[in-house]
Amino acid sequence: MLQTIIPLLVDALANAALIFFVAVGLTLVFSVLRILNVAHGSLYSIGAYVAASVGLWIVAAGLPEWLTFPALLLSAAFVALLFGPLIEKTLVRWTYDKSEAVQVLVTFGLFLILEDLQRMVFGVQSVYQDTPMSLLGISQIGGIVYLNYQLLLIALAIVVLIALKVFIAYSRTGKLLAAVVADREVSQAMGIDTGKMFVIAFTIGVFLAALGGALATPTSGVSPGLGAETMVLAFAVAAVGGLGQVEGAALASIIVAMAKVLAIYFAPALDAVAPYLVMLVVLIVRPYGLFGSGATRRI
């Protein structure tokens, strides 16, 4: 029995870790900016492309292979600093006083532009960079070989979850963000530079998406269309957890990943729809998601 349950749990947590990075970024941006960023998935795939390209360059240049680890983090930071302020200060800021439909259409347009941009810059062939995975080796759990890199991802997701909670609860910027989330107008009246908070929140969101993409590269190929695939799953997670809820995103990532893993093990025909069936059930029972509420707003 344990032989069956342990692989299920490890697979679910490894899957959940990757989904979590993207979903928590999406939910953070929504809670502060009140915008559903459809282009979030593209930033995930850009993070993946940049990390893979940098990793390939490190290996080709004959530099020490362990440098591919910091390269994952630095690639995500680079994408966030380049695209975060740029997108927020141009397109996204323009939509704050527009209807939700306009906001979704604008970010969807941005998604299409970014997808084409990736094709132009990185080409259409799949890119692979698995050095970090190879360096960490393998482990046997429940009689099944797992990559140690998969286990590292689980640990990193926990670190990011804790870091986010600590940042919001104890840092000055985090507290200001929480204030903007609680009441944007009052925060403004109290002298908080909401525009600056929006840039910070959006850039953190982009960083988390790009980090998810970068961390995924050692165990999967990067090719056009990755952004859309990830985005749909991140929406499902955000909806299950409740839009704007960090803990909700964490728990929902595990639930959605577990649904997918259970389907692959016991009902492969339902593999593709399992996450959305879970989403449907949760939304029927709790329309605002597991942690969401129609009345209160928090992060």
Partner: protein
């Protein structure tokens, strides 16, 4: 009288116009315009781009030799990644414009969609890669497929791995989640049931086409502990699967059959001992290809231009060009040198039989092609820095096709273990 004169004038004008039109139809065009459909983007481009590159080489070669009937070939490439709706609309646009011939398509879904349109627009078309056995359920006058179909292909793999591993008891399948993957799974299961009924399918997985991660599927395969894993993943999906499965010991744990494995031998670090094939006979290093002699030249030109050896989609595309060329030459012979109409070219394809770069191809009465099936096992040989096919077998294509009009899966059900007595053994093709 006036009325009679007008009538005579009208008749003369009509006759002249008809003559002129007829003369125009027989004039040689400035170029032979063809539409070539393949995947040029997305994960499937890993498989589709070699097809395009093979087409480029063939066009250069044909034009350098003076074209077809003295007419140079000019191609418009269409990306199948845009989806069936876009592919159909591009096909119509080209067919209603300048195109004279179509080499379409890579995807079975697209071939199924285009075949009736080819008939409707009377556009001679060869499906250069698609292999669904559903294609000729309805007859088509203008659509031909110069390849074997899924029945022959996946029976060949199953028979090979059973012949090589007679003690197989547990089989797992991981195929893409669309008709190609599901059809192949049905054919493998039907063949197992007919010739080795005691085998059990312990896992049947159909990941989404274009999936970036197969880690959970790999865990499932590891947990199922099959003796043999069968897969017809392809393109970027196959590369992804191999890169993720190998470090987790899948190829060491179970004998693996990668139906389209030859396409990734140069790009992925596939170990020795994996059963791979070429969905037909399109391996440029095969003994028959070496004997025919032109495949080596094609491969050398390809390598010089694109920096790697051609894989079987490139060879399949090249063979499709040879079929087109042969059809035009046959039609020109029939017309006595005047340029053939679309109807005459389609007529020339009927029952055509040619020597391709890699073997013999002939069309059956239903326009489906008969080609042999080569299956082998990855092995390293001196002088080549990536694994190639060893321990090969070359099955007669006709022997693995159901008789015309017979239900394919029903026909497989009539087979018995004695089929192995009639087939060549693995390792017999040298």
């Amino acid at each position: 009288m006036q009325h009679f004169r007008l009538k005579a004038l009208a008749v003369a004008a009509t006759a002249l116009t008809t003559l002129a039109t007829s003369a125009m139809a027989q004039d040689k065009p400035e170029s032979l315009d063809i539409g070539v459909f393949t995947f040029l983007s997305g994960p499937a481009a890993a498989y589709g781009m070699p097809g395009r590159q093979g087409a480029e080489i063939m066009i250069e070669q044909i034009n350098a030799d003076g074209g077809i009937g003295g007419v140079p070939v000019s191609a418009t490439f269409v990306d199948e990644a845009q989806g069936a709706e876009g592919v159909i609309s591009e096909y119509r646009r080209l067919a209603e414009g300048e195109a004279d011939f179509m080499i379409a398509a890579l995807s079975s879904g697209n071939c199924l969609a285009l075949a009736p349109i080819a008939d409707q627009l009377q556009m001679p078309t060869v499906g250069w890669n698609c292999d669904t056995h559903q294609l000729f359920k309805e007859s088509h006058d203008y659509f031909y497929r110069p390849n074997g179909n899924t029945i022959a292909e996946f029976m060949a793999y199953t028979l090979y791995f059973l012949d090589e591993n007679p003690d197989v008891k547990r089989v797992a399948i991981i195929n893409p989640d669309y008709s190609f993957g599901h059809d192949a799974a049905e054919i493998v299961k039907a063949t197992l049931k007919a010739v080795k009924p005691e085998t059990e399918v312990v896992a049947e997985l159909f990941p989404k086409l274009g999936s970036s991660s197969y880690q959970t599927e790999i865990s499932r395969l590891a947990a199922a502990r099959p003796d043999v894993i069968f897969s017809n993943l392809w393109g970027g999906d196959l590369e992804n699967f191999i890169r993720q499965a190998q470090p987790r010991g899948i190829f060491a744990q179970s004998k693996t059959v990668l139906a389209l494995g030859e396409t990734v031998l140069q790009r992925s670090n596939l170990p020795e001992g994996v059963i791979v094939g070429v969905l037909g006979d399109g391996w440029w290093r095969s003994p028959d290809a070496e004997q025919i002699g032109q495949a080596g030249e094609f491969a050398a030109t390809y390598n010089a231009k694109f920096g790697e050896d051609p894989v079987f989609p490139a060879v399949k595309m090249a063979n499709a060009f040879l079929v087109m060329k042969a059809a035009y030459e046959k039609a020109l012979e029939t017309t006595g040198g005047t340029w053939p109409t679309h109807e005459q070219v389609a007529g020339a394809l009927e029952g055509l039989s040619i020597e391709t770069l890699t073997g013999e191809m002939s069309f059956r009465e239903d326009n489906d092609g008969i080609v042999d099936q080569i299956v082998g096992t990855t092995t390293m040989v001196e002088g080549i820095d990536y694994p190639v096919l060893g321990n090969m077998v070359r099955y007669d294509g006709a022997a693995l096709l159901p008789p015309l009009g017979e239900d394919p899966l029903g026909w497989i059900g009539t087979l018995s273990p004695s089929i192995f007595d009639e087939l060549p053994d693995p390792g017999s093709y040298k």
